[in-house]
Structure formats: C-alpha cells, structure tokens
C-alpha cells in the first residue's frame, strides 16, 4: 500500500526494482492497448511491427542502409562539433562574439528553403547531405556550448588570475579542458537532433541509401509495417548510442560520476 502511495507522491524515490516493474508494466499496457485497438485497422499492430523488425534486420539491405546512415551521422557530428567548438571558444574573443551569437539564431532557419542554395554550392549528393546536416546541427551545438560558457562561475576565472595564468591559459584551463566533459554531454544530447535530421537529408539524395531512404520508399508504397519497424529501429539505435556516449563520458572523465552521485 505504501509503495502504491509513493508511486503517486511527488518527490519520492522508488527502489530500482520497483521502478523497473513500473516501466515494464506500462510498456506491456501500451502494447496491449495498441494491439487491441489497431487490430483490423490501418495502423499495424505491435506483433506485425515486431515481425517486420525481425525481417528487416536480418537482410543485407538493412545492414547497408544502417551503416550508410550511421557513417553519415558520425561524420556530420564530428565535423559539426569541431566547427561549433571553434565558434564557441572564439566567442570569448570580443571580435568574434557577435558572430557566435548570430550562429545561435540560425536554429530558426529551415533547411528546406536552403536546399537549392546548397545544391548550387556542392558538387554531388553526398556533399549536399553532409553540408545540410552540418549546417543544421552546428547552431544547436553552438547554442548548448555558449550556454555552458555563460554558466561558468566568474570565481573560476578569478582563481586563474590569482594563480598568475594568462588569459589564454585561463581559456585553456577553465573553458577548454575544464568543460570537455560537458562538451561530451552536449554531443550526447545533440546526437538525437543529428539522428533525427539524418532521415530528412537522406531523402534528398536517395542513391546512397540510408535509413531515411528506407523510410521514404516504404511510405511511398504505404508499407506501414516497414515504416513503423524502421522507426522502432531508429529509436532503439538512438537509445543505444545515447547510453554508449554517456558511459564513454564517465569513462573518459571519471569525476563526472562523482557529480552524478552527489546529486
């Protein structure tokens, strides 16, 4: 009875085992409701989607498309984070500050309207996809990175001054090295945006395949079981990468685990 009461009380912490019971129960409930209400309708049932997932992941066609998407995402993320870090660190130099703030505003630009411009600027489909992906991700990266820099306690800069560090040494110690773990966290959080964008940009040049291409083709033939199966696969891969990046952050920066424990 007490557990039941705790389930619906704010600010109570559930034991880990109870938490997982709640998660699994809710999942089963949702799937059961979905199965009941979707049977005989247009939306495929979870069972049909499950069958489609098994069918898809065992084909070479999926493996090729999966690696095409993953490679493009990782490459896009790598290039974007380097550009975003460069812009963010430069924001501390007064001359470059307005430019960095302007990049933040690019989040509100829609990529669709820029496709023609990027088609003119790039020489093939692969370059077009990469450019759009990078242009789409960089403003989100810069926004998160500038927020991290804004949040730095002024006393950290003062500490560097009292330790006779130069301004460049202070930038290195406090902003670059001192916030590297948070850069990793930004990458983890923005991986979701990159992963979401990938399906969109892949639709622009379908010859190189990718999960986005799979989705568009399945949509075209109203193969909804495959559409939902690909969506589930995209979701699961996203969650796995989120987990891997989080674990990698703890491994590379052991003190981040201490901060989590203290909370």
């Amino acid at each position: 009875m007490k557990i039941l009461k705790n389930l619906f009380s704010p600010f109570t912490t559930l034991p880990r085992s109870i938490y997982w019971v709640v998660v699994v129960s809710q999942l089963i409930l949702v799937l059961a409701l979905w199965q009941v209400f979707a049977t005989g309708g247009l939306i495929p049932t979870p069972l049909k989607i499950g069958e489609a997932v098994i069918r898809i992941v065992t084909t070479a066609y999926f493996i090729d498309n999966f690696f095409a998407s993953l490679l493009l995402t990782l490459k896009g993320m790598g290039i974007s984070i380097i550009i975003a870090l460069f812009i963010s660190y430069l924001s501390l130099v007064p001359f470059f500050y307005p430019f960095a703030r302007f990049v933040v505003k690019w989040r509100y630009l829609t990529l669709t309207g820029l496709i023609f411009l990027f088609t003119l600027l790039t020489s093939n489909g692969s370059q077009l996809k990469m450019s759009l992906l990078v242009f789409g991700i960089v403003p989100f990266f810069v926004t998160s990175l500038l927020h991290i820099i804004d949040e730095i306690n002024v006393q950290e800069y003062e500490l560097c001054k009292t330790l006779r560090m130069s301004n460049w040494q202070t930038l290195w110690e406090v902003v670059i090295v001192g916030r590297l773990d948070q850069v990793f966290e930004v990458m983890r959080q923005n991986f979701a945006i990159a992963w979401m964008m990938i399906t969109m940009v892949e639709g622009l040049s379908m010859s190189q395949g990718g999960l986005g291409t799979m989705l568009i083709k399945s949509n075209k033939y109203i193969d909804l079981s495959t559409v939902f199966a690909v969506l589930i696969i995209i979701l699961v891969i996203g969650i796995v990468f989120d987990y891997l990046l989080r674990e990698m952050r703890h491994w590379l920066f052991p003190y981040t685990q201490l901060q989590v424990k203290k909370k």
């Binding site: 306690n153 003062e158 500490l159 009292t162 006779r164």
Partner: protein, 267 residues
Amino acid sequence: MTTTYTKEELILKAENISLQYDKLILRDVNFEMHNIVRPGMHQGQVLSLIGRSGIGKTQLFKIMAGLIQPTTGTVKVGVEQQPVKAGDVGVVPQNYILFNHRTIMQNLEQGIANARVKKSAKEQEEMIKEYAAHFDLTDHLKKYPMQLSGGQRQRVSILQQVLTGNHFILLDEPFSGLDALVIDRVVELLLKVSTLDELNTLVIISHDIENSLAISDSAFVLAKEKDKEGATITQKLDLIQMGLAWDPEIRTKKPFIELVNQIKYML
C-alpha cells in the same frame, strides 16, 4: 601578555578607496599594515576586516586582490609598495573554488606552475608532497575536489595559494559553514601559514568576530557611519598593543570577550 616586537616596513596600504556602482559601496577606506618583527621567530601578520553581511566586504576583498579596480584610490602591497595587480595576492574564496576536473595533486601543481620562484618538476613535486603532509592532505592527493569535505577543500585552496609564493593571502569568510572542531583546525592552520615566512600576511574578511579576532594582531571594522552612504573603516584595533594577540587562550579572557561584544554592538 607582554611580548617584545617591533613594527618595521610598510607592507600593505589601502589609500582613499571608494567603489561606486549604482550606489556608493565603499567610501574613503584607508588602512595600512607594517611588518611585525619578533626576535627569534618568523612572525607573519594576520589582519581581520570585520563587517556585517552585505556591507561590501567581498568588493573590498576583490579590490585588495587586484581583481576589480576601485572607483578611486589604490592598494599597494609588498615592501616595494607597488600597486596591486591580479596574481600579487593569493585568494581563498568563501566556497573554496578549485578545478573540479583535476585531482588535488594537479590542483596544487597549478598553484606552483607559475610560482614566483621557478622550480624543476622534481622540486615542485617534492614541495607539494612536503606541504601536503603539513596540511594533512597526503591521503587525498589522488582524489578529486568533489570527494573532499568543505574543510579539506579549504585546506587545498589555502595550500594552492601558499604554493604560488605570494606573501599575501586573502581569505573570504574562512570560518563560514564549518563546525567548531574544524574551525579550531583552521585557526591552527592559518597561524601555521602566517609563521611560514616573516613577510607572510593573512587578511581575513569575515563577519565572525570572535574567531577572526582570536588569531589576528590587527583588526579593522568595516561599517556605515550614520547618515552617510557607503561603508568605511570605522575602527582600527591594534590587538598587540591591547594585549589581545598571540594568546592561544584568548577566547576565555574577559577583555577579549568584552571587545567582541563591543564590536557586535557597533556593527
């Protein structure tokens, strides 16, 4: 307690300091400090600046550290009496800021890296280990700041500043948030730091009158005068002359208790 001592050269002088933002924070702050010499020992100086919360102590602290410029006036430090600039004076802030991404050893290395006197890597390591032992930090050198208690972080913060080779160390509210037992250890540690070198000078900025006075040889009260804007030094106490310095049992002495009460009333 009668002790032979002399006051020698001027080592700290704050002259006509004022600070104005939207309103006047500090007004005509003037004080100075001389090197106190006692035969047969390294006698550093401990000065307390006592004032109520929000009176402008931290702003004065930053001016003395060269971290902000006053609206008027100058602070001169050292025997050469040069205007203070950031890096001339060590700072131990109230919340003991350290580099959280570095171990304690690495934090201390940051302190010694740009020290006044350059040392080889081996000498630096030996010096850190020697001081860490004095500061009871040997077992914590491989830990991260997040793994230490408030008192331990404070010791690291003080040691980091000692390793820079600065003779002046400013401490902002060093007794704040510590329990009575830890405060006694901090007092002991501060006295140890002050006597490491003849010219070592600690400036304690605090609202904790009793603990600050107990280890000081001079104290200034920072307060507002009636009908005047901005805080200024309203009282200067030469605790040596008053016979209230360098006595480990001072807290139990009646004149000391009376002085504490008198200052409490003034604030």
